[in-house]
Symmetry: C2
Subunit: 531 residues, 2 copies
């Protein structure tokens, strides 16, 4: 494989010559996380001459590189003296020089795209050049938190029309690395999220890769959920792999299941997420741009997208799902990505386990054709794998499912998965003796009836409080699913934790609401999706 | 006068008992401006036990007080050792204890109003309790920059209905100090801004105070303009006065012209402005809440509000002005504030001078009844003063203007102004020899005709580049106004600066666009406002 020239991100070479006197760089052992901080002494000539203010943005240049940093003003020459510029740890590391190296400090130029941002705040429609400029500035960390949030909120809800979503997606692809696998068909799958236990990728990848299609699957870790695919795969194998190693594995085994964080695909998306997450913003436009930009940057030519609907899923009605589908399809078609949207049943978690170890157990049960395997996870995975196999030019529409089932039932999927696990670095997981958290409690039915609802959000919350995904063996093991009969005292689910405090938090949440309702058979909600 | 009990702002007494081990406070000589920063050593037990992350919000408690701070993690025990918590300068000062005092550090509780904020982000209408909670959290500095920006942008444009604007205004008044002058009539005036040179307050206050009405005028400094009333008044007298001194002056002279920054009126507004300003957000709802909350907190019972309209004013059409007027009137009436909106001619700057010294000269010319005085400034000030005088129960509608003119022409306004200047602390300004910036250049007409437009924004920009308001004597002196005839080579305006670099910046801006257009008599735009 090869990659197209990545767009420059900070630090970049600067063309501006040094201005003003140089200062001596000083590394301060202060960790300011992702925010670069520069420290200047208040009596320093540069500080006085430039009319800086604390918290203003400055540019620090040295060694042909430049970084932007927030300014803090120091009154203690022991910390930072006149003639010095202190830098927080990460900021210092980005410059690649030694302590004491000369550097130049100046006011940072305001980002070029600010006028476009202001027009968006005024409710205007933006053009392609505007989005290119905004996303470039964001990827280069030129936006302040204020500007970043303003962009995210002003683009929230229905503020972006579908052509703007296309411009945004295109701009996000342009700013990052773009992979080219030199294959006519490179498949990928993605779910918009929100359904606990939904680990279909770990079944779809080995099935489809066993069929021979190239499937370089990179996943995220859990952000607000009890486990992401990367967290669950990590129970079985290493997922943080050097980029070159990843491409070797894909070349040899057609697929991988790795963490996507090291690939620098769509870097603007990572910056935007840092604001969207604390605000719980997940608007259709931003979701489409975020998902499609990452998949296209990763080199996918064919994508199957899973949109689950249900009362506690992200999408709660069929009309809403159809609107979202059309937006995904419009942008994918503009980007020349072949997209197949599958609307699925999101009324309850998929499989039984929720949490890395529990979900890994479910996946391995399916791959082993174990009679105990959760059938909903198996069925859904075969359906998605079938759709992907139909991307192969030799396969007719409707034949994919049977091919996928044969691959699974013959054990070829398991063989393929084991090869991928070995290649990434196996962790020696025994699915029949999963290393669950040693502490546990059970949630029980208090009345007779059938399970009429399982709240995805509450079950996910309980699993997180129990320690997932940080504690791999923590989580929720669902023993009853929708429509199943229960008697008073029956165990609905078991909660596993690694630490007493976690168990207690989970128990309290469970006491407030256990997330499972019991009622009459007729009260089970229906969902009309293709099965 | 007295004040009602101020709502608590941080630091506040805490009811929660100390939890976990105490740390020794250490003052770090780092100025982080308005953002409190706490520094913990990475090896510190508290840091490890609480699972903190750099940039997360922590609460530091000691001495019955608590502050919120952003966490930075330190790897150098020389800076902050295990068992210590470092604080930035302002944060340390807020706790009112000595170095080495024991303090407790814990994760900050998320602000209570976050669910309401999320509902606003989803496009919902909020209730009074929601606004109270949001504004209380904002005034107590509990919102992160991200949350603050999200609130501002989600309330931008037409996102707030008029009842929500009332709730917002009411909430902003509740969080701050509210003055009570123990007078049936306390007058104030305000202009929504955007017109350079518009220093009517410095004429209206002495005229109306001379009539005997209480007029405790506090003003802001320039934010994005070349001079605010506080900047211009500072040419004549001290404007930063202790709060008690201010009230003495008002009691004795009925009026004052001071900077409002020390009064802690509507503290949430100051926090919101810190986000609105860099985003140039000035939506009707936020403008109304910001202006009315400050005036009501300052104890005004009667307010005259100036809304200028013109092609380069904030408000560009009469329908827009009328919509804004109705919103101001609705909220004022809910708040029981008597409001008189005056829509004025905003086609060009008011007076001749733009910049602190130049504007002070204009004001003094009018007060001195100097034949050179700019007539538009005189006329507009008399008109506004007349409206305010009519707030007096003994004055009939329509009589105010003549009373104001008599007070001005008789010299009583000048006497009153001089008394206020003396009381605040005179600076010895001689309006006939104003201390203008020593460097200057002139913008000249290149063709014959009449002045058909003067761009408020461009003239303001040139005055700021020339150094106003920071350099008091810098600015623009307009020698030709709308409709006046000019011949090629005539001076349109003179730019004054204190420093060569500033003069050069101003000259370049002037060369790009001098902001004054010459054309035929018929091309002068009309404006239909009451005169």
């Amino acid at each position: 494989m090869s990659e197209s020239a990545p767009a420059p991100t900070t630090p970049t070479a600067t063309t501006a010559g040094p201005a003003g006197p140089s200062l001596k760089l000083r590394r301060l052992a202060i960790d300011t996380y992702r925010e670069n901080v520069a420290y200047l002494n208040r009596d320093c000539d540069v500080y006085r001459a430039e009319g800086f203010q604390a918290l203003s943005k400055v540019e620090v240049r040295t060694n042909g590189r430049r970084i932007l940093a927030t300014l803090n003003v120091v009154d203690d020459p022991g910390l930072v003296g006149c003639g010095e510029v202190g830098l927080s740890q990460d900021a210092f590391a980005q410059l690649g020089v030694e302590d004491g190296h000369p550097a130049y400090v100046s006011q940072a130029e305001p980002p070029e795209s600010i006028p476009a941002l202001f027009r968006k705040l005024d409710g205007e429609r933006l053009g392609q050049g505007d989005f290119d400029a905004i996303i470039r500035d964001i990827a280069q960390h030129r936006y302040s938190k204020i500007e970043l949030t303003a962009f995210v909120v002003a683009s929230n809800r229905s503020e972006l029309d579908r052509e703007e979503v296309y411009f945004l997606t295109e701009a996000m692809v342009k700013t990052g690395r773009r992979l080219d696998w030199r294959q006519p068909v490179v498949v990928d799958k993605h779910c918009i999220g929100g359904i606990p236990g939904n680990r279909t990728s770990m079944l779809v990848v080995p099935i489809v890769a066993a069929y021979g299609l190239v499937f370089p699957k990179t996943s995220s870790r859990a952000i607000t959920s009890p486990a992401g695919t990367a967290d669950t795969m990590e129970v079985l194998a290493r997922v943080e792999l050097p980029f070159d190693r990843l491409t070797d594995i894909v070349r040899q085994h057609h697929g991988c299941l790795a963490w996507g964080g090291t690939a620098d695909l769509s870097p603007a998306d990572d910056v935007l997420i840092s604001v969207e997450r604390p605000l719980s913003i997940d608007s259709p436009g931003q979701m489409v741009a975020s998902i499609l930009s990452k998949k296209i940057a990763a080199g996918a030519t064919h994508l199957v997208l899973d949109i689950p609907i249900g009362p506690t899923a992200k999408v709660r009605s069929m009309p809403e799902a159809q609107r979202l589908r059309r937006l995904f399809e419009y942008v994918a078609s503009r980007m020349r990505l072949s997209l197949d949207v599958v609307i699925t049943d999101g009324r309850q978690p998929i499989g039984r386990g929720i949490g890395p170890v529990l979900e890994a157990r479910d996946v391995m049960q399916v791959l082993q054709n174990d009679p105990e395997a959760p059938q909903d996870l198996r069925q859904k995975s075969l359906r998605l794998a079938g759709r992907l196999i139909e991307c192969h030019p030799d396969v007719r529409g409707g034949e994919g499912y049977a091919i996928a089932r044969d691959i699974l039932e013959s054990g070829r999927a398991l063989t393929q998965m084991n090869a991928i696990i070995e290649a990434q670095g196996a962790c020696g997981f025994d699915y029949q003796n999963p290393p669950l958290g040693a502490l546990s409690f059970e949630a029980r039915a208090t009345e007779a009836g059938v399970v009429t609802s399982i709240d995805n959000l509450q079950i996910a919350r309980i699993a997180r409080l129990a320690g997932a995904p940080h504690v791999q063996g923590a989580g929720v093991d669902l023993l009853r699913k929708l429509g199943e009969p229960v008697a008073p005292g029956d165990v609905l689910y078991r909660v596993h934790a690694g630490f007493g405090a976690d168990l207690e938090f989970a128990r309290q949440a469970c006491q407030r609401s256990q997330g499972v309702q019991i009622g009459a058979v007729g009260a089970v909600p229906h969902v009309f999706v293709e099965s």
